[in-house]
């Protein structure tokens, strides 16, 4: 390895046709993938927006402004104006980034493993279990997502935790579908048969051999789903069923801004712009990732 690097440089080593070790093979693959991603300007914009969101959420206390006068239009000190209690909208939007990020992360942490597990098990085991699980996903897919989330929130009561649960309950079926489709393709491949012949139990095969290979499609779907989750959470907040005021959740902020919409447009306008920007970021990033990680879905 070191001779090749010394002779022809790192670039040649990273683009080698015939990798000499497993590590090199992985790095070659990763290098090619990241090059593909870096060539897509829209995906990079998306990535920049998402990174900015992360930074803003982390640094909100440093960036936020002090709070004083009420319902002031945007000016040099209060960049996005102030709301009905004199709170600076710019600062609240910054703190809202934390809530949005929190909701999205929680939902994804619940939904992706759950969907992956159900889909892989259903696809690998087949038979009755598969039929039952797939009928259940059918039923969940038969409701429009927001309406089902509304019904769940009705049962659980309004609030941000319940909103997360309700969104998760409505968001897992597509993941199960994707994981199942991938599993069906993998199930009869030679390496799985080999593992089976060696006497591996089905949980071992599902968890160690099938699931890791379904991951990339699930990750792509997660990024593309982020915007949908943000919009649903904001919708619930707007209807007064998600995060409750005085929480600076963007949807709830728009809901309060609605009362002043005709004269003080900025109260509702800026949180909405924040939602647009962040959703757009996730969508662009997701499109880019899909093109790189999953060329067949294009």
């Amino acid at each position: 390895m070191s001779e090749v690097v010394a002779a022809r440089g790192w670039h040649a080593w990273l683009t080698a046709e015939a990798p000499a070790s497993r590590l090199q093979a992985r790095l070659v693959n990763a290098y090619a993938t990241s090059l593909g991603f870096l060539r897509n300007p829209l995906a990079l914009i998306g990535l920049a927006i998402v990174i900015a969101l992360l930074l803003i959420a982390a640094a909100a206390p440093l960036l936020a402004q002090d709070l004083s006068l009420r319902l002031r239009p945007p000016d040099a000190t209060h960049w996005f104006g102030t709301d009905e209690l004199g709170r600076d909208i710019y600062s609240r939007v910054l703190y809202g980034a934390r809530i949005t990020l929190g909701i999205v992360t929680l939902v994804v942490l619940i939904v992706a493993p759950l969907g992956l597990f159900i889909g892989c098990v259903a696809g690998y085991r087949g038979g009755m279990l598969d039929a039952v699980l797939m009928r259940i996903t059918d039923v969940f897919l038969a409701f429009p997502r927001l309406i089902l989330a509304l019904a769940f929130v009705a049962a659980l009561g309004p609030g941000i935790e319940n909103a997360v649960i309700a969104i998760s309950l409505t968001a897992w079926p597509p993941y199960a579908r994707i994981a199942r489709a991938e599993t069906l393709i993998l199930r009869d491949s030679d390496f799985i048969n080999a593992a089976r012949l060696l006497g591996a139990s089905w949980p071992r095969i599902v968890f160690l051999h099938v699931m890791p290979l379904c991951l990339s499609s699930v990750i792509v779907r997660v990024t593309l789903d982020m915007a949908g989750i943000i919009l649903t959470a904001a919708g619930l907040g707007f209807l007064g069923l998600g995060a409750q005021p005085p929480s600076p959740e963007w949807g709830a902020m728009i809901s309060t801004g609605r009362k002043y919409i005709l004269d003080q447009w900025w109260v509702a306008a800026f949180p909405g712009l924040a939602i647009c920007l962040v959703s757009l970021g996730f969508n662009l990033l997701g499109d880019g990732l899909r093109d790189v990680l999953d060329p067949k879905q294009r």
Binding site: R135, I136, D138, V139, F140, A142, F143, P144, R145, L146, I147, L148, L150, A151, F152, V153, A154, A155, L156, G157, A227, G228, L231, A234, G235, F238, L239, G240, L241, G251, I254, G257, R258, I261, L262, W265, A268, A269, G272, I275, C276, S279, L280, N283, L284
Partner: protein, 344 residues
């Protein structure tokens, strides 16, 4: 052999299988609404008798409501009540839920239909233009529209539309379906105001209704437009690559005839599926849009009931939306099977 079976028989078999799926899905929908109804932390008996009622009254009401029965019997009763058109009574309006739904649904129908029409009438030509001239301006327009369509919250767009077109420019009328002055002037024969006022020949009400409808319908229509144009584009690109297009060109057919007759003709069936799906998706958008525009439709009915913990109304409304969604999906699926020879 399957291939030699008569076509009608094969179609019949497919229809039967489809009917099986539908029955199963509706059963599932009912199970979900039933279970949600049971999870609610409100005791329906306590709500009926009040918390000072003696224990024996509580027990009597409890058995009258059938709540002392095992869950599967309760579920069976729920299903049979729903199949008899009994969705319970709304606490908020004190009407049977079904009556309420009949009253509120036409408003949603009017909104969603107008929006879909807008999406189709603009979206399909735009999508075709983008497919014919790839990477030129219609193509870029569709890209941007599509991206924004997936990123903009519909309720926020509605609010901004109200600020701009109603408050600042005064081009459209404000929230609601009609000005207060015109309310209840026309006999509600269908519940769809545009049709009712046209039937009654009352054009003043008609034009007022249009002024109220145009903004919310455009907002919703935008989302339909974004989806329809995107799908039209990709379907058309696939068709224009086919060999019959080359043949038609060689034969000397005009480009317009090739695109609009031959290629578009071939994507009509999948396109109808796309339109049906976008129509179904508008049901969801209408919940938020109706709240913003104080539009007295099913979406507003569900959210209002929700905020007042009126569970019968919420679940009845949810079930109704689920069934409409299912019917639209089914309709598009069936259409596909009947008209696309490859799907047979």
């Amino acid at each position: 052999m399957a291939g030699s079976r008569p076509r009608a028989l094969k179609l019949g078999g497919a229809a039967l299988r489809l009917a099986g799926t539908v029955v199963l899905t509706i059963f599932g929908l009912l199970l979900v609404t039933f279970l949600i109804g049971r999870v609610v932390p409100i005791d329906p008996v306590l709500a009926a008798v009040g918390d000072r009622a003696p224990a024996e009254v509580y027990q009597r009401v409890r058995s009258e409501l059938g709540l002392d029965q095992p869950l599967y019997i309760q579920f069976f009763r729920y299903v049979s009540a729903v199949l008899h058109g009994d969705l319970g009574r709304s606490v908020l309006t004190s009407n049977p839920v079904l009556t309420d739904i009949k009253r509120f649904f036409p408003a949603t129908l009017e909104l969603a239909t107008t929006a879909t029409l807008m999406g189709v009438l603009i979206g399909i030509p735009l999508g075709v233009a983008a497919a014919v001239r790839q990477n030129r301006w219609p193509d870029q327009v569709i890209r941007v529209l599509g991206l924004l369509g997936y990123s903009v919250p519909v309720f926020w767009l509605g609010l901004m539309g109200l600020v701009l077109f109603y408050a600042r420019l005064g081009w459209v009328a404000g929230p609601g379906r009609l000005d207060v002055f015109y309310e209840d002037v026309v006999d509600p024969r269908t519940g769809v105001i545009l049709i009712d006022s046209a039937l009654a020949g009352n054009w003043q009400v008609f034009s007022n209704a249009i002024q109220h409808l145009i903004l919310p319908a455009s907002i919703l229509g935008y989302f339909s437009l974004a989806y329809v144009s995107r799908m039209t584009r990709s379907l058309m690109i696939e068709q224009l690559r086919q060999e019959y297009v080359v043949t038609a060109r060689v034969k000397g057919l005009s480009e317009a005839r090739i695109v609009w007759r031959h290629a578009l003709g071939n994507v009509m069936v999948p396109l109808v599926t796309v339109v049906a799906l976008s129509y179904a998706n508008l049901l969801e958008g209408s919940v938020l849009t109706e709240t913003v525009f104080a539009w007295p439709g099913l979406g507003q009915y569900i959210t209002n009931s929700l905020l007042n913990v009126d569970m019968n109304a919420v679940l009845g409304g949810t079930l109704m939306v689920g069934v409409v969604y299912l019917v639209l999906n089914l309709f598009s699926d069936l259409l596909y099977r009947v008209f696309d020879p490859r799907a047979r």
